[in-house]
């Protein structure tokens, strides 16, 4: 039988802090990842490489930097 437990705040705080840190870390990592993907995409776009319909005519005629 489990007796009545007095106190235990340190465990409660540990759980909340740990969960907070882990989840915000995950969110932060995801946001940073998003930034880097966006950055890579805009870099490629600056080179003139874009998706689908918008193939630059420069590439089609074969001149390249």
């Amino acid at each position: 039988m489990i007796g009545v437990i007095v106190g235990g705040w340190e465990y409660v705080i540990a759980v909340y802090v740990l969960s907070g840190v882990v989840i915000s870390g995950l969110i932060l990592w995801t946001v940073l990842d998003y930034r880097s993907q966006r950055h890579a995409l805009s870099e490629l776009e600056a080179l003139g490489i874009t998706r689908r319909s918008s193939v630059p005519s420069a590439f089609l005629s074969g001149e390249e930097d």
């Binding site: 759980v15 989840i23 969110i27 993907q37």
Partner: protein
């Protein structure tokens, strides 16, 4: 019907951008409310203050199981309809599910340490959550091991579905195993229904964490779509440099 249209990656991206701030605000609001209710609620007559751990632990446990079902549904989407977004969905959800499962385990053992005196007990529930964690690890490891995105998507989907069929078997066998091995179980689950004072923070936190999960999931899906675009554009760039003048046929390779 609206949701069907969202399966177009472009529309999906726009949808995420549109709802992102609202979701984030709602999640923040729910979590703040949950925290408030959690620390305002009276201590439990048996567990004392430790009952507040439950408000984090239980939502995490729910979500780690819910996430697996999400993955299994996406796996069906990959295998039956071959939808590229289903593939993205599995890759986005698996790491989040793994983290939530790990948090379930860790918060559970922090609760167990003062309650039972030991951080880990080979009890049926703990053991099945641990096995769920292994399943997640397997999914993640497999999805990283196979480089070709299409093939890795298919392989991970097969593993996820096999895992889904196995989950009840695992649950059942672990239950049986622990009831036969455990001398007088420490845990009496269920018990009387929860007092409203405890139900309120629990539901609030559950809602908050669910929103956080959805948020993370959508954000990771967005990252994955962008990542695939970057990869296929890089391939296109490489091909153009190798043989300029030819129209590359890499359009829409993965997304």
């Amino acid at each position: 019907m609206v949701f069907l249209r969202l399966t177009n990656p472009n529309l999906f991206l726009r949808f995420v951008d549109l709802f992102f701030p609202w979701l984030a605000a709602a999640a923040g609001l729910c979590l703040c409310g949950g925290l408030y209710f959690s620390f305002m609620s009276p201590p439990d007559y048996q567990q004392g203050e430790l009952v507040r751990i439950i408000y984090v632990h239980v939502p995490m446990a729910w979500l780690s199981m819910g996430c697996y079902f999400l993955i299994a549904v996406s796996a069906l989407g990959t295998l039956v309809w071959r939808h590229p977004l289903a593939d993205v969905s599995i890759r986005a959800a698996a790491p989040v599910g793994a983290v939530f499962t790990a948090l379930t385990l860790v918060t559970g053992s922090i609760w167990a340490l003062p309650t039972w005196g030991v951080p880990w007990v080979w009890d049926a529930r703990l053991t099945s959550v641990l096995i769920l964690f292994f399943l997640y690890l397997g999914l993640i490891a497999l999805s990283h091991a196979i480089e070709d995105l299409r093939r890795s998507g298919r392989a991970v989907a097969i593993l996820a579905l096999v895992g889904l069929i196995n989950l009840p078997i695992i649950k059942f066998s672990v239950n049986w195993w622990s009831t036969l091995h455990q001398p007088a179980s420490l845990i009496r689950s269920g018990g009387p229904s929860l007092h409203p004072d405890m139900l309120r923070p629990l539901l609030m936190m559950a809602l908050g964490f669910s929103l956080v999960f959805v948020l993370l999931y959508l954000m990771r899906m967005r990252n994955e779509i962008l990542y695939r675009r970057v990869t296929s554009l890089r391939q296109m760039q490489a091909r153009l440099q190798a043989s300029p003048g030819t129209l590359p046929d890499v359009f829409g390779e993965v997304l």
